[in-house]
């Protein structure tokens, strides 16, 4: 067995032992860890991604690749990626806004919908500037080399 394999078996072995340790401790304290409820939520987390988030992303990607014309597409796709990643956090905050026990906590005191729209507007503006510069560059190239046409 070469050294690389030994290292991999070692890391993997430590990994399996660590998983076993965590699982054992969870099972040893069922009154606070509620293993059955936890198992349901773990499966739910997998399904949330595999059945909801991933198909949604694939669907939007498929539509964008067919609807948006070539030159604008990278900027639309890039803007959607950045905007979606920001929105994932913001949506949770928007949903919990105003549901805290006291203003003394200074918790969720902002208008997160407005904040999200500000951030998305910035992302859109950056993409818009990017698109404008691509168009300008292409136009300049065209006017410089009329012989190509």
């Amino acid at each position: 067995m070469n050294r690389d394999r030994v290292v991999r078996y070692l890391i993997g072995g430590i990994g399996i032992a660590t998983i076993a340790y965590g699982v054992t401790r969870i099972l040893q304290d069922p009154t606070s860890t509620k293993p059955l409820g936890l198992a349901k939520w773990l499966i739910g987390a997998l399904l949330l991604h595999d059945l909801l988030i991933a198909p949604l992303v694939l669907g939007v990607g498929w539509i964008v690749s067919r609807v948006v014309p070539g030159r604008a597409r990278p900027l639309v796709q890039g803007g959607l990626i950045t905007g979606a990643l920001i929105s994932v956090i913001a949506v949770v905050l928007i949903n919990r806004e105003g549901k805290t026990s006291s203003p003394a906590l200074a918790l969720l005191t902002q208008n997160y919908l407005v904040n999200l729209l500000i951030l998305l507007a910035i992302v859109a503006a950056v993409c818009g500037i990017g698109y404008a510069s691509v168009v300008l560059r292409d136009n300049r190239r065209k006017s410089r080399s009329p012989a190509d046409h």
């Binding site: 430590i14 990994g15 860890t33 979606a84 956090i89 549901k99 006291s102 003394a104």
Partner: protein, 388 residues
């Protein structure tokens, strides 16, 4: 007649889903995975440090310096954890087509590998979601957050190590492949020729999203970034007396006893002592600039004034080597904390905050404040101190 098993295993059934994206592939997966793996490592280590705040070994108490230690490590823990949410989504996107490999299971080793990925993904996604919900004080699940967050972190780190061990050759290959000429995916990345995004641009867009999330949340730890903290759950400057609280007097059920004229602080040890609020205020006071650093990741510095805890400890016959238990008027929750070592030497029993008397939500009439200490261990509404 049924097709032979061997053919079924090599030929995908027609209904089996199939995706083609020129963007996915080991080059991008390995790069995103490297950052995510590092982030998980940071969360694990800072999480263990936080756990140690609550359960220190008696021979190795949490040190008093640097006074901003827990503020830094827990701030990093929470901001990194939040940033992991967009990161893991991109990581999962980059390997989503592998969920539908055919045949689904090639053998025992392959089954084990897939099971380890399922454990890693399920536990990571759940940990990140529940972690975020916890800092919003939202608990829609049946289990105790602290216990599960702690033990699940071992499951995650373990399955991450196993995942790295299994995928090491692919990781190496992915990292050494240039983004532009990765052929490990469905197709080579000549996407821009078809008018789409390149792999490099996917990484840039990902970095921008994760960066915006980090920059707009870090303001709950870093005052200089608070004006742009558009996605921070807390705005620490908005709390009463210029400092947020994590538990109100009403919620703790202490209003009546904390404001009663019969309030006394009892200090017990080899000797014992009872002090009214005016007697406490007649003691020599110290002023310290110390942060409240919450386990939920927010923190803010404040000016505290009050007698030194150690002076009362020595009055009842204790010393800097004593083990001190502090009890709140609150019942249940974080009503008791212990202190020893250098934190004991530097601790104040604060009566004043930012030049004013403590408000009831900040622990009136008396609270503990010590350096490098988790917020909920800065026990409020103190009424009993036991020197051991």
């Amino acid at each position: 007649m049924l097709p032979p098993l061997s053919r079924l295993l090599t030929t995908k059934p027609p209904f089996w889903p199939e995706f083609h994206s020129p963007l996915r592939g080991p080059a991008i997966t390995a790069r995103v995975g490297r950052v995510l793996g590092l982030a998980f490592g940071i969360c694990f280590v800072t999480g263990l440090l936080s756990h140690y705040q609550y359960h220190p070994w008696s021979w190795l108490p949490v040190p008093a310096s640097p006074s901003w230690g827990y503020r830094l490590t827990q701030g990093i823990h929470v901001i990194t954890g939040i940033a992991c949410i967009p990161l893991i989504l991109v990581k999962l996107w980059s390997v989503f087509h592998r969920l539908f490999v055919w045949p689904p299971v090639r053998g025992a080793v392959h089954a084990l590998e897939r099971a380890s990925v399922a454990i890693l993904v399920a536990s990571s996604v759940l940990q990140l979601i529940t972690g975020l919900f916890n800092i919003l004080q939202f608990y829609p699940w049946p289990w105790g957050f602290v216990e599960v967050h702690y033990w699940l972190s071992y499951v995650i780190i373990g399955s991450l190590l196993l995942h790295i061990a299994i995928q090491l050759p692919a990781i190496r290959e992915g990292l050494s492949t240039r983004l532009s000429d990765d052929r490990g995916g469905d197709q080579p990345s000549e996407a821009s020729s078809r008018g789409g995004l390149s792999r490099r641009q996917v990484l840039i867009a990902t970095g921008a999203g994760v960066g915006v999330v980090a920059i707009t949340t870090v303001g709950q730890v870093l005052p200089i970034a608070e004006p742009i903290a558009l996605l921070a759950p807390r705005r620490p400057s908005r709390g009463p007396q210029d400092l947020p609280v994590n538990n109100t007097a009403r919620n703790a059920g202490v209003i009546q006893r904390a404001t009663s004229s019969s309030y006394r602080l009892s200090v017990t040890g080899p000797r014992s002592l009872e002090l009214s609020l005016s007697e406490l205020e007649a003691l020599p006071t110290l002023r310290r600039h110390l942060p409240i650093a919450c386990v939920e990741g927010w923190s803010r510095s404040a000016d505290w004034r009050g007698p030194a805890l150690l002076s009362l400890v020595t009055q009842v016959g204790g010393s800097a080597d004593s083990f001190v238990v502090l009890r709140s008027l609150q019942e249940g929750g974080y009503s008791v904390s212990t202190i020893q070592g250098s934190q004991l030497e530097h601790a104040l029993l604060a009566t004043h905050l930012n030049g004013e008397r403590l408000s009831i939500d900040h622990g009136y009439p008396l609270r503990l404040i010590a350096p490098d200490r988790a917020g909920v261990l800065q026990t409020k509404w103190l009424h009993r101190i036991e020197v051991r």
